[in-house]
């Protein structure tokens, strides 16, 4: 841009379909950003010189998307992903805010590690918000200093990657988290029932002789979390739900007003356990790919609001770690750069389970409400975190073009419809197609 310097930066996004579920807004309009904030259009005439223009004709303009479940691997595993590379992957996927999990080395179970992460996050191109551990060392035995973690700025506590097996400890964690005002996120996995399971227990595990991970191993902990959320009257969020039984339990509990919520990852609706017959470890994740009946139940759960949050569980691993025997490979796949497109493709275009407005709401208002974030809206005065989407753009996933430091995606080569074309954080474009 060669125009003269001005005291304030200003951008106007022209002619887009502005969808802002927080304000029940869906209209063709212009969006003005001044000094990194959403600004009333009435101030346009006072600006001199006039703002930079972005043409958003035929595009959707929405609040910057939030992925509340990613693994950034720093500190400790920078060869898989750094906070910086993970943030760039997020930007390329249309995300302006990501929430990172505490299973790093050292574990994010103490205020100094949280401070270290926040320090690194300050230089990242999107907003990176840390979570803290529920238990010391994610060992499930003693409470982490949850109050100090909250003061250090965590947006939630979770032992994700692990699951607190001791129900008494979990009860006290939820009670304590309520006092300090942070929600509890839980990976639902009963260690005894799951055992050494690596794939869904069912037809394919029987055929292939791979150790089965039964649906009930998830559902037992979902039930536990419902009962404890009710007992403690505090928000518990079930991460990456996968089974028809979990959806049924959650639907009943939410119907009674229990403070319980659930999230879905794209791979759990894009794929079934049939994919594991290739023994390709990019189909190995926790929880595992399930059967078609489970996929159908997840889609219904999304349609009726039982499942309210969409997230990736972005879990980077290096090639040399993933390219090993199936049962010894690490669990997890990356997702930041494909999740939005997969959900647009599957939920909005293919199965028509929800419309684009609800999809945006599930990626903005829902996580913002759950984590009490000042984000996910285009309200005047809000930080200008904005995502521009092309709902109909057809493209092919190319893993070698990912911004992520890792390549462990089962979606390489997949043709998808719809994607983010520009990502704006605090008024600044951090990525464009």
């Amino acid at each position: 841009m060669e125009e003269s310097r001005r005291d304030v930066s200003a951008t106007i996004i022209r002619n887009g379909r502005v969808i802002d579920p927080a304000n029940k807004r869906d209209e063709i309009a212009d969006l003005l950003i001044v000094d990194g904030k959403i600004t009333p259009l009435s101030q346009l005439s006072t600006l001199n010189p006039q703002p930079d223009e972005i043409d958003a004709s035929n595009l959707i303009v929405c609040p910057g998307l939030i992925d509340m479940h990613v693994h950034l691997r720093e500190p400790g595993f920078g060869h898989k992903e750094t906070i910086d590379s993970g943030a760039r992957a997020a930007a390329a996927g249309g995300f302006t805010t990501i929430v990172c999990m505490p299973n790093t080395s050292p574990v994010a179970d103490n205020p100094s590690t949280i401070a270290w992460i926040r320090n690194r996050a300050a230089g990242a191109c999107v907003n990176v918000l840390p979570t803290g551990a529920i238990s010391k060392g994610l060992a499930g035995e003693e409470l982490a200093p949850i109050g100090s973690l909250a003061q250090a700025g965590v947006v939630a506590i979770t032992d994700d990657g692990h699951c607190v097996q001791n129900h008494e400890l979990m009860r006290r964690a939820i009670e304590y988290a309520r006092m300090v005002g942070v929600p509890v996120l839980d990976e639902c996995r009963d260690y005894n029932l799951v055992g050494s399971g690596v794939v869904n227990e069912g037809y394919w595990s029987t055929l292939l002789g791979l150790p089965g991970w039964p649906a009930v191993g998830e559902e037992v902990i979902v039930m536990r979390n419902i009962l404890l959320a009710e007992l403690c009257d505090h928000q518990v969020h079930c991460l990456h739900l996968t089974t028809a039984g979990s959806v049924r339990l959650l639907r009943e509990a939410r119907g009674r007003g229990v403070k319980i919520s659930g999230e879905v990852c794209p791979h759990h609706i894009a794929l079934t356990d049939e994919a594991i017959q290739s023994f390709d470890t990019n189909y190995k994740m926790n929880p595992p790919l399930r059967a078609q009946v489970d996929v159908d139940a997840l889609l219904e759960g999304i349609a009726d609001g039982t499942l309210s949050v969409l997230a990736s569980d972005h879990a980077p691993h290096a090639d040399f770690e993933k390219e090993v025997e199936f049962d010894t490979a690490p669990f997890g796949i990356i997702g930041l750069e494909t999740e939005l497109s997969l959900f647009l493709h599957l939920l909005v275009h293919k199965h028509r389970k929800i419309d684009i407005v609800r999809l945006i709401e599930m990626y903005t208002v829902e996580p913002a409400k759950l984590l009490k974030l000042d984000a996910g809206t285009l309200s005047v005065g809000a930080s200008a975190d904005v995502t521009l989407l092309d709902l109909d753009l057809e493209w092919t996933v190319r893993a070698d073009e990912f911004q992520s430091a890792s390549r462990n995606s089962p979606f390489d080569g997949r043709k998808l419809k719809g994607r983010a074309v520009r990502t704006i954080v605090g008024g600044k474009t951090v990525w464009r197609l």
Partner: protein, 309 residues
Amino acid sequence: MKQRWNRKDLLGLHELSAEEITFILETADAFKEVGAREIKKVPALRGKTLVNFFVEPSTRTRTSFELAAVRLSADVINISASASSLAKGETLKDTARNLEALHADILVLRHSSAGAPQFLAQRLQASVINAGDGAHEHPTQALLDLYTIREKRGTIAGLHVAIIGDILFSRVARSNIFGLVKLGARVTLVGPSTLVPREFEKLGVEVSYKIDNVLPNADVVNLLRIQHERQRKEYFPGIGEYTRFFGLTKERAKLLKPDCLIMHPGPINRGVEIDSEVADGLQSVILDQVTNGLAVRMAVLYLCGGIAT
């Protein structure tokens, strides 16, 4: 041969057609005849190198493959897990690529992980022969079982085969199921409900928990070794109760048809899944299985080794 066999690898029976399985059995007929000669050696794989790569202990399968390879005039190297660099942290892929760099032509792999042979077959030029992967497949064991049934009964189609024991964790059971069903046998799985889940019915077989109802109708009973070690403690109460409910005791053996074959992949636990008298009785073909294993493995090495060139 080109029309009837074009695979460099033998990974499992699930992926083979009935015609391919039958072709292996027919090829084994010729090699069985070689074993009866005074000079038991043919030059089919002369100049080829076979690596027995056993990342899980095995004596009988490894010995059988080694002898089969020697009789085909191949050079044989044995590598076991404890001696290999896997213990030093090298990946399976790197170890296998090193073996290939030494111009190994055929890799016979025994591994505790299901899918390990598929993993290597996709990455190596060499032939990969699955000698047992986790609880997945043990194709040459099933082929020698099929060969033995066919030899003794003339056919497989229409026979009723009972497979008895720990089915859930058994690669022998899975490969047998795939092969028997493809060749038209009726298969009934018998064992404790925890080790024989109903899910197996989706593989085209029957499941029964009442051995005394199954034995009188069986043309073949294939007994699997039962163990009650660490992993199985939660699956059944103990060996004594297993034998009471599912052991092929002398008494139960009386329920069998006179021409019913008794098979076991070995090593047998006398007095546990089978009584000594029954194992050594006239209906037992357990040692024929061992002999036939040699012919079947020669056929497999010959067919796959020929394609790899």
